[in-house]
Symmetry: C2
Subunit: 133 residues, 2 copies
């Protein structure tokens, strides 16, 4: 990741221009002028440096990882909640966060990496919908 190339630029710009959505590597490849391997490599790099968040959904087959632009950069100080149904990304930035992080650290000796942690579940709206489905 030392040179600046138009391919990597295009990939990053694509994610920034659609910061509200998640994309699979294939989707990016289809809309950006770069080889598939290059897209994967670019995404890997961007994820590594914290500019993208990576999400893994559940179903095994034909279900690839999706990526989304992370405007918070790599020093995120809050955890993301991701709705498995509508895909909404909720930024959990309340005071209880500190309590949770402290608990993990004190009781489990575990230092949470907020930048890479995503909590999956169902958001309020989707839970409501589920009740009537």
């Amino acid at each position: 990741m030392k040179y600046h190339t138009k391919q990597r630029d295009a990939v990053l710009r694509f994610f920034m221009d659609h910061g509200d959505r998640c994309f699979t590597a294939r989707e990016v490849y289809e809309q950006v002028d770069a080889g598939e391997a290059t897209v994967f490599r670019a995404i890997a790099g961007l994820t590594e440096s914290g500019l993208l968040n990576k999400y893994v959904s559940g179903s095994a087959r034909s279900d690839s990882a999706t990526y989304q632009y992370n405007p918070c950069g790599d020093r995120a100080d809050h955890i993301h909640l991701k709705c498995e149904r509508c895909g909404e990304l909720i930024h959990m930035d309340c005071s209880f966060m500190a309590t949770i992080l402290s608990h993990f650290l004190d009781e489990h000796g575990f230092a949470v990496d907020c930048g890479k942690t995503v909590i999956y579940g169902l958001c309020e709206n989707c839970r409501e919908e589920g009740k009537h489905a």
Copy 2:
């Protein structure tokens, strides 16, 4: 899943006998007398019926889904902490869990899906090592 077969029995028994650990399909296949496809089919069935929980953590390659026996019935009841350094998977099964889940639900309207949620960070040992590295 209408007939009772020794293969499916063996798979279920394997998980029950090692209820404290997670296993990939391959690991089960290596220790149980059944074909690979059969193991996958058995695991899928058991997961479907709630006897096993499925966990997805990383990318597709060299990081496959893991499964664990779920004595409680049909839903996962603990979150996984995964060390980014040594890869250890910690099962967070303490009482504070309920508090955390309640908070997410009450304050954020968010129903956490324990089965798919993995919290990344550094475990105790790796944090110690980091200090001296």
